[in-house]
Amino acid sequence: MAEIKRGQAKPAEEEEEEIITEDNVFEHYDEPQGFFPNQVMADLTVSFALLVITIILAYAVPADLVEPMDISTTDYVPRPEWFFFFLDQWLIYFPGAALVAFGDIAMPIIFAIVLFAIPWLDREPAYSPARRPYMVVLGFLVITAIVLNLFLSMVRILNFPGGSPAG
């Protein structure tokens, strides 16, 4: 038979507090939560919103389909999709055979290589954007250049005779 101890119980042992160092500071979150249910619900909410948006757009603004391809037309003004507007704008800055190759082939390839290499280019150990200003400013400049060129190209295309979707 087990012996029953009488008297005051000894205090519960305190859990050893983790010593936080620069190496382990990012190993656990402050107050983590399970992926299910909160994050799953947030993901489903956003996905559902996107589904509704695509369905509404599908009926409200039907997908483009202009006249069939006709190689003999001479008055058709080709325009790229919006996601290639910034590349289209670069053709203005880099005209001529040699410069086109530089602007629309060499530059995007260099840009892609730099994108791939970002983890090795950013050697700053800090994660916060405020503590790695060079990378953040560089990233901001690249995004600004893309968005600005996108709008410049859009304005140019819309002002070009026959460039607007209507005409």
Partner: protein
């Protein structure tokens, strides 16, 4: 009522046990569903799953479009016109494919910006960033090839301009154009190749890369911005401050002792 509920719960447990014994599915789901994720900034982390959702929509609507799309120069435009005007829900399916592609490019861009700003590419997550960049390039190429598949004036001339630019590539320009056109000029072979790139080749590369992206994410966990770790960072800073103070006082005492000795 209680008895029915108990019987139902028991049956549910039986099914779960049966599945677990044969597939280990229950323990797998438990591991995946209850993995710790950051509590703050929860909505920022929905961009990755939103991207995956839109890619799934693209796959599903793309498969449905293939039931009617004919990849020949004579019938490509007509088949799309037919889908839009005569097929049940044709306008919806094509519209969802078209707008889904546009939204996908926006969402994947935002996902990349979030990853960049939070520094989520830092060790040991470098390879996930590399795979992510490959995915964004693939998605852009899919959008470009899909644009030309409708074989209308817009798509055709966009492809023509693209080929013109590609022809300026030093050393491999002519070869690349010949590969993409399937000859010297735009023709039936061009559309066949576009179809192969858009429907077979690129999705065949994209799908396993998405798998690798998700496996790597699960391996190293999600990384948010530094604010997810603000309490731990505060503790670290406090400890470092104490250490600095201790060092300061220790050096003061040493100085005092050495001055006494003199």
């Amino acid at each position: 009522m209680t008895r029915i509920r108990d019987r139902m719960a028991e049956r549910g447990r039986d099914v779960a046990d049966w599945l677990e014994e044969r597939t280990r599915l229950v323990s797998f789901m438990e591991k995946q569903l209850y993995e710790p994720t950051p509590r703050r900034g929860m909505w920022l982390y929905t961009l990755g799953s939103a991207t995956l959702f839109l890619i799934t929509i693209q796959f599903l609507t793309g498969i449905l479009l293939l039931f009617y799309y004919v990849p020949t120069t004579k019938d490509a435009w007509n088949s799309i016109y037919y889908i839009m005007h005569h097929v049940y829900f044709g306008q919806l399916i094509r519209g969802m494919h078209f707008w889904g592609a546009n939204l996908l490019l926006i969402v994947i861009g935002l996902h990349m910006i979030r990853t960049f700003l939070s520094g989520s590419y830092k060790p040991p997550r470098e390879m996930n960033w590399v795979v992510g960049v490959a995915l964004i390039i693939l998605v852009s190429l899919l959008a470009f090839t899909g644009y030309a598949l409708r074989w209308d004036q817009e798509g055709f001339y966009a492809w023509e301009v693209g080929m013109k630019i590609a022809s300026y590539t030093p050393l491999i320009g002519a070869w690349a154009v010949s590969l993409l056109l399937g000859g010297d000029t735009v023709g039936p072979a061009t559309l066949s190749r576009l179809f192969v790139f858009h429907v077979w080749l690129m999705p065949a590369i994209l799908a396993p890369l998405i798998g690798v992206h998700l496996i790597l994410l699960r391996l190293h966990g999600e990384f948010g911005a530094a604010f997810e770790y603000s309490e731990r960072l505060a503790k670290l800073n406090k400890r470092k401050q104490y250490e600095r103070m201790e060092e300061y006082f220790a050096s003061d005492e040493e100085e005092e002792e050495s001055s006494r000795g003199e």
